[in-house]
Symmetry: C2
Amino acid sequence: MNNNITLRDIAEALKLSVSTVSRALTDSYQIGDKTKKKVLAYANEHNYVPNRIARSLKEGKSRSIGVVVCSIDNNFVAQMLDGIDHYCTEHQYQIIIMQSKELFEQEKACINLLYSGGIDGLLISPTYQTTDFDYLINLQKSGLPIVLFDRLSDKIDTHKVAVDNFKGAYNATLHLIDNGYKNIAHINSDTKLSMATERFEGYKKALADAKIPYNANLVQFFDTTTADNLNQNLEKILQALMHADTKPDAIFTATDQLSTRCLAILNKLGYLVPTDVALIGFSNTDLADALNPSLSTIYQPSFEIGSLAAKQLLSLIDDKTNTPFETILLDTQIQVRSSSQKSK
Amino acid sequence: MNNNITLRDIAEALKLSVSTVSRALTDSYQIGDKTKKKVLAYANEHNYVPNRIARSLKEGKSRSIGVVVCSIDNNFVAQMLDGIDHYCTEHQYQIIIMQSKELFEQEKACINLLYSGGIDGLLISPTYQTTDFDYLINLQKSGLPIVLFDRLSDKIDTHKVAVDNFKGAYNATLHLIDNGYKNIAHINSDTKLSMATERFEGYKKALADAKIPYNANLVQFFDTTTADNLNQNLEKILQALMHADTKPDAIFTATDQLSTRCLAILNKLGYLVPTDVALIGFSNTDLADALNPSLSTIYQPSFEIGSLAAKQLLSLIDDKTNTPFETILLDTQIQVRSSSQKSK
DNA sequence: TTGTTTTACTAAAACCATTTAGTAAAGATT
DNA sequence: AATCTTTACTAAATGGTTTTAGTAAAACAA
């Protein structure tokens, strides 16, 4: 902790009261000009910085918010955190980031720690496991402003910020259809969060609109919570898919990790993308154009998700007017590259 | 901010003094068993959590540390942050991450904010621009424990954690030489931090040991601080290199961003890697094997750098014994893939 | 019985900034 | 001259925890 001078030090040095010094520094009308100047001069000279902790204690506000994400070590998450940090820094709020590592119990532990640490609000992107939002609802009831971002749930009523998953998935699938693909597989995470079903629904709607019959054998949901799970299961699933009766000619993957891992595994298994099988998926990797082949992606405005979520939270913290909760859905962007096109 | 019950609430409810309650909860010998049980029961029932801010104020410790990095939105940085977070969470410290965005002025702003926010210690990976360490030295003098990680400097004496850049660069260059490459270019950042020169020296030493004459025309240092700088300058540099009299048959890139961007640009310019030019570089991307071609890398133990740095900092915070400062250099790992080998 | 020790508690200060309530002195008003 | 207002300040409380110093009562020893 810093050992700067305090108001008291200034007061004693200048033979004033602590309250006078405090007021002088906040330019109160109650203090005369000469005194103000004297105090200001002394404060500057001795590099006075108000003790943030004392102020927090007094004001009952810490000007810090908690952020809970699955893992900081995830490209897409890091981009959103960048957006959160940008907005918060601009508005003089500090962020305390904690990682749930996709474990519900750890998520609860993070939240408890943050809450007792005195955050003014909470920004959370729940784990894939999370189905119980009661503890969040309780915190909310006891006065903690909460905003959900990226991964949403209907079980809690609050501000929410994410992308239009349905539309993004619809567009991805439509793009494959437009490029002549008919047997389109879909690989998704088995989370109960709405993003998974929304992307699945978008996929089905695009098929339906194109009058392509839905084939459940081409759709796989599975546990992607750990890297090991993902790699091993995904390899099995891809092997199975590619040896099935109705071998897919294209794949639409629903998450960042799934998309890039899928490409890596297809390469490893010796399949030529897109000749043997085309691929498009949700992903924000900035290496999409350097991949083999360059990967077509559904890009999410990650930075904006983060900064908007932060904005919603700070407005919730400031406003005690009961503005109704809203859900903001941003548009995704389709980035067509080689992995999803027959020619090129 | 949370509105939990306080010691005082418990005290009033049980008709005890605040100090008795405080002592009962810390299991002090001064409190009788019956009272302890009564207090503990009440505290549990009403979900008492000590107010972290009040405790910080009293103890003069916040159990939080500041972390300053160039950008959270950088794969390698995020991996190190994961390591820092892991160690700190384990030891009940909170981390407050701030981004310098490679700007020296912003770095100073971050540090000031963190310092006045009452951090117990600082973990910093300076910007490429940073050459002046006086402000850090001043903070150190006024009692703030500081640990440098990843990007080091001789200008400040403290604990430091990074990789053995010289050896990593030497091994990368040696690998290219062993694979028959002779005209090896080297692309590096123009930072004044030691990592750049160390990697450059490793490159030169490997050439010298192999009796390959050093050719300054094959070596390029340039400003990589922004993505725009990097992309545009790198493209120019690669164009120039590939059209020079002594066209390189291989390239060794010194940073994560340089390596992956270099590959992307070579692809874009139509050069076949490794046939036209081989490539190996420092990089921690988990997409190395999905790149076109799969990218040979010098991998840094990023997680360990982070967790070790955190460990050093926390030991500095606890220990007031003046253990001498040490610099820990971890070994890099060479990961040979297609981009650096003639046959495959 | 008197004096000493132990047990089990409490009052109050400390950490530092903010803020409410109040005071003394100067200046203005009638 | 007497009253009101304004100016420029201060004392003290507040926030919640920890800790120092202290007290009353019980237990024990002589």
